[in-house]
Symmetry: C2
């Protein structure tokens, strides 16, 4: 089984590194996939990394470097001398090279750029103009492109030279004299067509392309919706700049989902490029602490509401039995609604115009959830609570007590469901990332309103 032999190879490599055995190390690095080599490298200690970079072949290293987390890039490159650095940098794919140069210090960036050939410098600089999170920042310029009027035979001859450099030949793009995108051809059409006909005869219309300045998430949404193989990236004059490939899209989707999940859980800051286990405790701390602090200070408001309503709780202390439940139910349903709406936005399902549909849907849902859950809790209370001989003051009957609790629960769930859906929509309306209104923030806010609703209902219905 290939899986098992890969694990054996990885263990062999790790042993070779531990023994500083260059004779065993080199063939092992030739056998293994660069993604595995990068994982192994990431888990080495400093001495072992020094052996790795000293021994590895310069042809093999560039693709390993491209897989390393951002934080390791510069220190790893600095383990090589200037000649090796030049060789590694110029072997990188142009989009990987631009990404790597965006991740190093500005001193190193200038130094590395100066090592490159003029045309490499130009491509790299032009790619670095686009933010890392845009379609332009993600694209590779290695698209196979030919001019209108070229014959099938000449196209095939031209592509022969692309053999090693075009990241994908699945589509060949046809451009006019100004470089504007005019059509596309599948490689297989070329292989099976009459060699003398011009490419216009077999080219297909381009129905989907993306602006270089568009958000990477939009590129991923288009890719997913239209089952694309390559997505051409154009400038505002429709000139072909490059293509986004499916492995870029898979990376974008992993990043965006991780980001959503982290933000929704109240984890701040940029997603770590390193794995969970390789990220230091201090980095984890820095990302978790800010929201914890903000939410703790906010939660004191809930406590303040409890203080203010002391007289109610002290006259009917049985209210304490349901207080945490009413408060928490709001947080839970608000969190559910927020998750649903944030995910629907990430998948591109909610246009700006659909806010009113969301409001109607969540209002209905909130009422339904609130009434059904309120009803369940009322039944539980009416049938089970009497068995415990609950300490109620004489002025309050079990029926009115149950009514107060269930009504408060229904009101809390209805308002919380609506808030959970509206806060992310509101965040987007003021151009904030919807996921940034983290679910814990929503929970804390509806906790406060839950306290107020609960005590107000008790006050109004039970007359204390």
């Amino acid at each position: 089984m290939p899986e098992e032999s890969r694990i054996l190879d990885i263990e062999g490599l790790e042993l070779a590194i531990k023994n500083r055995d260059a004779q065993a190390f080199l063939p092992a690095t030739e056998e293994l996939h660069y993604a595995d080599l990068a994982s192994v490298f990431e888990n080495l200690d400093d001495d072992e990394r020094a052996f790795f970079t000293k021994t590895i072949s310069l042809e093999r290293f560039p693709e390993i470097l491209a897989e390393l987390p951002d934080t390791l890039i510069e220190e790893t490159l600095e383990r090589f001398g200037p000649d090796s650095q030049r060789s590694i940098l110029s072997q990188l794919l142009d989009d990987d090279r631009a990404d790597i140069l965006q991740d190093v210090s500005s001193e190193a960036r200038q130094r590395y750029l100066a090592m490159l050939k003029p045309d490499e410098q130009e491509t790299t600089r032009s790619l670095m103009r686009y933010d890392e999170d845009t379609a332009g920042g993600r694209m590779t310029t290695n698209a196979a492109r030919i001019k209108l009027g070229t014959s099938v035979k000449d196209t095939l001859d031209l592509l022969r030279d692309y053999k090693d450099s075009a990241e994908s030949l699945a589509r060949v793009y046809v451009v006019d004299d100004e470089g504007r995108l005019k059509g596309k051809i599948r490689l297989r059409e070329l292989a099976f067509s009459d060699r003398d006909s011009p490419v216009e005869d077999i080219m297909q219309e381009i129905d989907i392309s993306i602006l270089a300045t568009a958000d990477q998430e939009e590129a991923a949404q288009i890719f997913a919706k239209y089952d694309m193989t390559l997505l051409p990236v154009v400038d505002e004059y429709d000139r072909l700049l490059g293509v986004i490939t499916h492995d870029d899209v898979i990376e974008i989707m992993e990043e965006e989902s991780t980001e959503d999940i982290e933000k929704m859980s109240g984890i701040a800051g940029e997603q770590s490029e390193e794995t969970y286990l390789n990220t230091s405790v201090v980095t984890h701390f820095k990302r978790r602490f800010p929201w914890l602090l903000v939410l703790a200070l906010l939660a004191i408001s809930s406590g303040y509401v409890m203080l203010r309503f002391e007289h109610i709780l002290s006259s009917i202390y049985l209210l304490a039995l349901y207080l945490p439940m009413v408060v928490a139910a709001g947080g839970n349903t608000g969190g559910q609604a927020a998750a649903m709406v944030i995910r629907a936005m990430s998948l591109g399902e909610l246009e700006a115009g659909s806010t009113s549909s969301v409001i109607i849907k969540e209002l209905l849902l909130g009422l339904l959830l609130g009434c059904v859950l309120g009803g369940c809790i009322a039944l539980v209370t009416l049938f089970i609570l009497p068995a415990f001989n609950p300490p109620l003051p004489e002025t309050v009957t079990l029926a009115t007590f149950t009514l107060a609790v269930s009504l408060a629960l229904a009101a809390q769930i209805t308002t919380s469901t609506l808030s959970g859906a509206l806060l992310p929509l509101g965040a987007r309306a003021i151009k904030l990332d919807p996921a940034v209104v983290a679910a814990p923030a929503i929970t804390t806010l509806v906790d406060i309103s839950g306290m107020v609703i609960y005590f107000t209902a008790a006050q109004g219905i039970l007359g204390v």
Copy 2:
């Protein structure tokens, strides 16, 4: 701009449907992408759908059908007569056909299967053997495959016939007489190689394949890690069954991320195939209610703890000011830890052996977060609270009160962080989906422990 012209085309199509204008409808459906046509269809009312299915060409409809949500498949197919059904079903790609037949009633499935040609029936049945969420359930059998010993010229001739049927020709797989996978060739290698040499000369080793019974998530992880174009799927004898393509992987990743986010927010049941807006309120209700009910019943335990410690709260009512904060801080940090660990597991970063590293990391983090936040709250309390002339009994000084609150907060955060990380790991250890220990469940559990910790600390330190 292509984007704008597409929107105009979609609006034109919608108008044509509203006017029941077949003359405008047909060219519009030829222009648009099938994903757009499926979105339009999904949003039509019953009469409009009848017009759509009556008017659309039978060549265009199969790819639209494959994009529709599961719940619409059968009623839509039933709008056609048996001859049209046969034509639509046999035009579908084999993996789409198998998916569609898995989504209809068993009566319809038998009827549709009986319409197919014997070889179509056989492929479809063999694909349906694998669960929808496995590599086998996701693969297409339309892989380009040739036998060892075939020449480059014969291979190209064979591929010409695949032209329309192989979902991707990016890789041609080489198999032996028993169908066992022996190597792969890129289409471009074929196009640029000597036509008389046998494929063995240019084929590359297969280093990565996946068993048909493996989970679809594993397929996506391999695809993402190794930047693959096609992932070959094999049986236990290493015989090539099919391939997973990058658009399958993009779909898997969307599904798995949505599933994780939904489960982590306490949303139950299978992810809806329909968009958020097209999913009915009743379906939303059914998925949100179960956890809400379970958590509400659980939360009554928190209330019970409050009842039990009535004497403490009534002798130092100021404790109510910090009670919600201590409880909520545990929920927040537990949720953060759970999200981090669940995501790391989804990305394949945490092997079974890394449990102890996770425990050490989260214990350190819990202590760090607890001590720092406890310290912050202690400072706030010591410097700000006196200004409000807080109602403390004479036996309790501000200093001991602050100590009790901060220590409880630190203890609550430390234990909650650890629980948040351990519960998903525990779930996996007993073969449950880690995300199923939803964050709200963790929050509710640590709410209960938070109440106990808080009142116990108050009792022990303040001696009430």
